[in-house]
Symmetry: C2
């Protein structure tokens, strides 16, 4: 089983890299599909699942923080249940065959599968520009708002990661390769990463 | 001018990667050559230059630490003089043409040349094994001694780096690509890195 996990800073292009990599390697690709699966299995609305998972992760998650919190017992139970469901589904998807999984700390959850773990990052200006380029209409944020959003999203990812492991999110020691995408076109970067993946999985460089 | 700088943890195989990369790309390679050049220009013994540079960097370097120190004014002056000479020589070498420079914070010193900056790292067991494999006779250290040596050498590198810049040595933000060499053969890794370098310098992947 060849599994690639992609952890990424918001706006670094990691999701696009994962998608293109999966296309080029003919691997399955999982990202939002995980949410869809959780929602389906639990007969819940996808938006609801997303919001619970994000709230459970982004705010006061009782297991780690252990402080008083203004967070209802029911919401807490829901978040815990969905986090567990997410872990189970990630493992089920991984068991189906070669795949690229973006985010959701799959590098930690799938540790026993020896995944190839990539981390994608970029400098702040580059991330702001990338967010701006892919913004849909009606989603116009200024640079300060984007900077704030990027930091918030990444802080949530770091907290979720640190629920699961002692390794710090984004610390290079936890990854096989850390790729700085500042000023790069993801499309042009992809073949190089695909070569690296082939090398790491024991194949030749194409 | 195409300049590659390689920063590396002691025992990670970064030096070997730099040498092989230079061979494959037909770039000049500089590492100890820098010491030879400093020694030659200053009519000094190479061992002396090495020891002064390492002592100047590894121990109480007055410019940064600003504490009391048991370090003679003359030794201090020598260290400063040789550090400045090292910076000048690195710039002179870079100006001569395409090259790979290993260590000596060349990524910071050559900032104006827009070098491609790689960081090479590995987990501790892998570094200990690599040190053991390349040890010469009469240089037998046990694992604890090797661990201590690795940490000491890297601490010296970090201190020198942080004399020159606010960026933390080894923090991924300061590099274009961070490569984990744990359990890898550098010889097999090299073609992949060469491909990446060609891509970053605007060529095709070979």
């Amino acid at each position: 089983m060849k599994i690639i996990t992609i952890s990424r800073e918001f706006g670094s292009g990691g999701r696009e890299l994962g998608k293109r990599l999966a296309d080029q390697l003919e691997f399955a690709y999982y990202d939002r599909e995980i949410i869809t699966e959780i929602a389906g299995k639990n007969e819940l609305d996808e938006g609801y699942v997303t919001s619970i998972l994000e709230r459970g992760i982004s705010h006061k998650f009782p297991v780690t923080f252990g402080r008083t919190f203004s967070y209802s017992a029911a919401a807490q139970q829901n978040a815990t249940k969905l986090l567990v469901a997410q872990q189970r589904i990630i493992k089920e998807l991984a068991a189906q065959g070669n795949c690229v999984i973006v985010g959701r700390s799959a590098n930690i959850i799938l540790h026993e599968y020896n995944p190839l773990n990539l981390f994608v990052y970029a400098d702040m200006n580059s991330k702001i520009q990338r967010c701006r380029d892919r913004a849909t209409e009606g989603e116009i944020l200024n640079d300060n708002e984007l900077r704030k959003k990027i930091k918030q999203v990444d802080a949530g990812r770091a907290r979720y990661h640190e629920l699961l492991t002692n390794l710090k999110w984004g610390a290079k020691e936890g990854y096989h390769l850390c790729i700085n995408t500042t000023n790069l076109q993801i499309k042009e970067l992809t073949p190089f990463v695909a070569n690296y993946v082939n090398y790491r999985f024991g194949g030749d460089i194409k």
